[in-house]
């Protein structure tokens, strides 16, 4: 069994109101010196059987087609 992790982040030019709200909470907790917070998503896919190149390519496609929206988001696929 292998685990494939897909990280999805809003593109840098897309405003992230959630990250901004989190950032706004930091000073209230006494944390200074953080210039920005961006919030993203992490998907963990448990893959049955061997992780072949073909299988990985398929997961890449799913990351692009379903897990992220290429209009507003970037994604990265990691094998862990």
């Amino acid at each position: 069994m292998a685990r494939v992790v897909v990280d999805v982040m809003l593109k840098p030019e897309i405003l992230d109101p959630q990250g901004k709200a989190v950032h706004g909470a930091l000073p209230r907790l006494g944390v200074a010196g953080i210039s920005e917070v961006r919030q993203g998503k992490r998907f963990e896919l448990e893959v049955d059987g061997e992780l072949t190149a073909e299988r990985l390519a398929q997961l890449h496609e799913i990351a692009e087609k379903l897990l992220s929206n290429p209009v507003i988001e970037d994604f990265e696929v990691h094998v862990s």
Partner: protein, 226 residues
């Protein structure tokens, strides 16, 4: 005219959309997202709501429902398709319309009567309006901020594909105050505000929304891209 209204799990405004279709003088046809059957309708409305609980991204899971395959084929053939609110999000996720809808800039759910200007009347859904006509219909969304890259926005403006624009303060941070857009042919329209909630006197802000449902035309002549 037979106008289908698709129900996804989590759709909320499907019955109101059916009612608007009936009041406008057409026959509403209930469509179920899992059926591979458009029931020979002449046009389709994707209603508002929170399909699949807005999980993943708004509209991202609905876009892969069996019926959407038929809607995409129909749209490519010129069938009129109107997506309202969550329906607009589904159309963007399905790449039938450019851009995307993200969380309101102010992080707040907006619910109010909204003034709009109808910018494009040469679509399958806005033929009964005058160009530049101002209307008031309800707006209610948490993720209604329309975004696209500058090149796409310029293309939309250049081809006259901005269908409606917010008047007054931008309610959700949408780029260029865009409330609705169409595809190049004008048969697919996405709209964030809710015209189906403004079709009867005594309910909602008036009857300005009815115009979206009265004159639904399959073929729009003289458009860019036809």
């Amino acid at each position: 005219m037979r106008i289908g209204v698709v129900t996804f799990p989590g759709s909320l405004d499907d019955v109101d959309a059916q009612r608007a279709v009936r009041i406008a003088g057409h026959e509403p046809v209930a469509l179920w997202h899992r059926d591979h059957d458009l029931k020979r309708v002449d046009a389709v409305i994707l209603p508002g709501g929170f399909s699949y609980g807005d999980y993943l991204r708004c509209g991202a899971i609905s876009r892969f429902s069996p019926l959407m395959e038929d809607v995409i084929v129909g749209a490519d053939r010129g069938m009129p398709v109107l997506g309202i609110c969550n329906g607009f999000q589904v159309l963007c996720e399905a790449h039938l319309l450019p851009g995307a809808l993200v969380r309101n800039q102010a992080q707040r759910f907006v619910c109010r009567d909204q003034r709009l200007r109808i910018e494009r009347t040469a679509t399958s859904w806005t033929g009964s309006f005058e160009a530049g006509q101002e209307i008031v219909v309800p707006l209610k969304n948490g993720e209604g901020c329309y975004v696209a890259d500058e090149a796409t926005l310029d293309e939309l403006e250049g081809e006259g594909r901005v269908v409606a624009r917010y008047l007054g303060p931008d309610p959700n941070g949408s780029m260029r105050a865009i409330a609705g857009v169409s595809n190049a042919r004008g048969n697919v329209v996405g709209l964030m505000p809710h015209p189906e909630h403004a079709v009867e006197d005594g309910f909602g802000p008036g009857t300005d929304g009815l115009g979206f449902f009265t004159r639904v035309e399959a073929i729009v002549a003289g458009l860019a891209g036809v």
